[in-house]
Symmetry: C2
Subunit: 158 residues, 2 copies
C-alpha cells in the first residue's frame, strides 16, 4: 500500500528534512501521509532492526509514526481548508508537535505493513488535535493523540 | 557524560535487542540508563540525521529516548527494591511501555548531549509511572510520562 499524493511532497524544501517524514532526509523513514476519503492515512513497514523484543516493533518507531502522521494530517486539513490538495503542488503549512500521547494496545508484530488512520479536530485555526489508530492487519496495536501547531518562529529564528 | 553501570547491561540477552536501548541491536541508539543519586539518567547525543527542521532534533527521537529511559528506570527501581544494583550482574526485570506522553517544551537543538532525568512512582508492584525531564544544557526541552509494566507473556508466547 502506498499513498500517492502525500502532504510531505509539498512541504517547503527547508522543512522537508525530518528523520520521520522528510523527503530530503537521506536516512529517515520517509513516512507519506495522504487522504483516504475523509481520513488521513500513513503506511509503513518497519525495518528488521526496529525491534523491541525480537518479533515485535519497538515503541519509539510507533511514536515516530504517530507523531509525523499527526503533523502531516494537520497540514492536510489546513491545506484542504485553504482550498488545496497535495496534488495541486501548492506548498503546505508545516506543523510541529506540541504534545504526543501513545497507548500501546498490543504488541506490534514485525514484518507487517502498519496503517495509521487519523481523524482530526480543529482546536484553533492553526492548531489541530489528531486521533490516530495504528493497525497491523485487522488489529489496532496502538492509539495516539497529537496536538499540532503551525511551526512557530522559534524554529527559524535560530 | 556516560552512565557507567547501565540497567541495559543486565537485561537478559533475549530482551536486549531494542532499537532504542538494546546492547545487542547493531544499528540502534544504545541508550544507557543508570542511577545518579536517587534519580535515573540517560545521556544521548542525537546523530546529525535525527533532524526535524534543520538544526533541531525530531520528535520521534525524543519520544524514543523518553520511552526507553522510562522502561529502564522502572527496571532500575524494581531491581533496587529486590536488593540489587546493575553492577551486581544480576539479570534485571524487563519492562514494556503501556503508555507514553511527551510534551515538547521548546525546540531541541542538535549537536548537544541530551540528559533525561527520571523520577518514578510505584503504581503496583510490577507497574511504575516515570516522570522524565529532558535537558539540553540548562533548558528543559521535553517532559515525558511513561507507564511501564513488567513484560507480559504476550511478548514471549508468539
Amino acid at each position: 500500500m502506498q499513498v500517492k499524493y502525500a502532504i510531505q511532497d509539498v512541504y517547503p524544501d527547508d522543512f522537508a528534512h525530518c528523520y520521520g517524514c522528510g523527503r530530503l532526509n537521506e536516512s529517515g523513514h520517509h513516512f507519506r501521509t495522504g487522504w483516504e476519503d475523509d481520513q488521513t492515512v500513513t503506511y509503513y513497514t518497519p525495518e528488521p532492526e526496529h525491534t523491541a523484543i525480537p518479533g515485535f516493533v519497538y515503541g519509539g518507531l510507533m511514536a515516530s509514526l504517530i507523531d509525523c502522521h499527526g503533523t502531516g494530517s494537520a497540514s492536510l486539513a489546513l491545506l484542504r481548508k485553504d482550498g488545496h490538495e497535495p496534488e495541486d503542488g501548492v506548498e503546505a503549512p508545516r506543523f510541529v508537535t506540541a504534545s504526543l500521547e501513545v497507548k500501546f494496545v498490543k504488541p506490534t508484530p514485525q514484518g507487517v505493513t502498519l496503517k495509521a488512520v487519523g481523524k482530526f479536530e480543529e482546536i484553533r485555526p492553526k492548531k489541530f488535535k489528531i486521533h490516530t489508530d495504528v493497525y497491523a492487519g485487522d488489529d489496532i496495536v496502538a492509539k495516539g493523540e497529537v496536538v499540532a501547531v503551525v511551526m512557530p518562529d522559534t524554529f527559524t529564528s535560530k
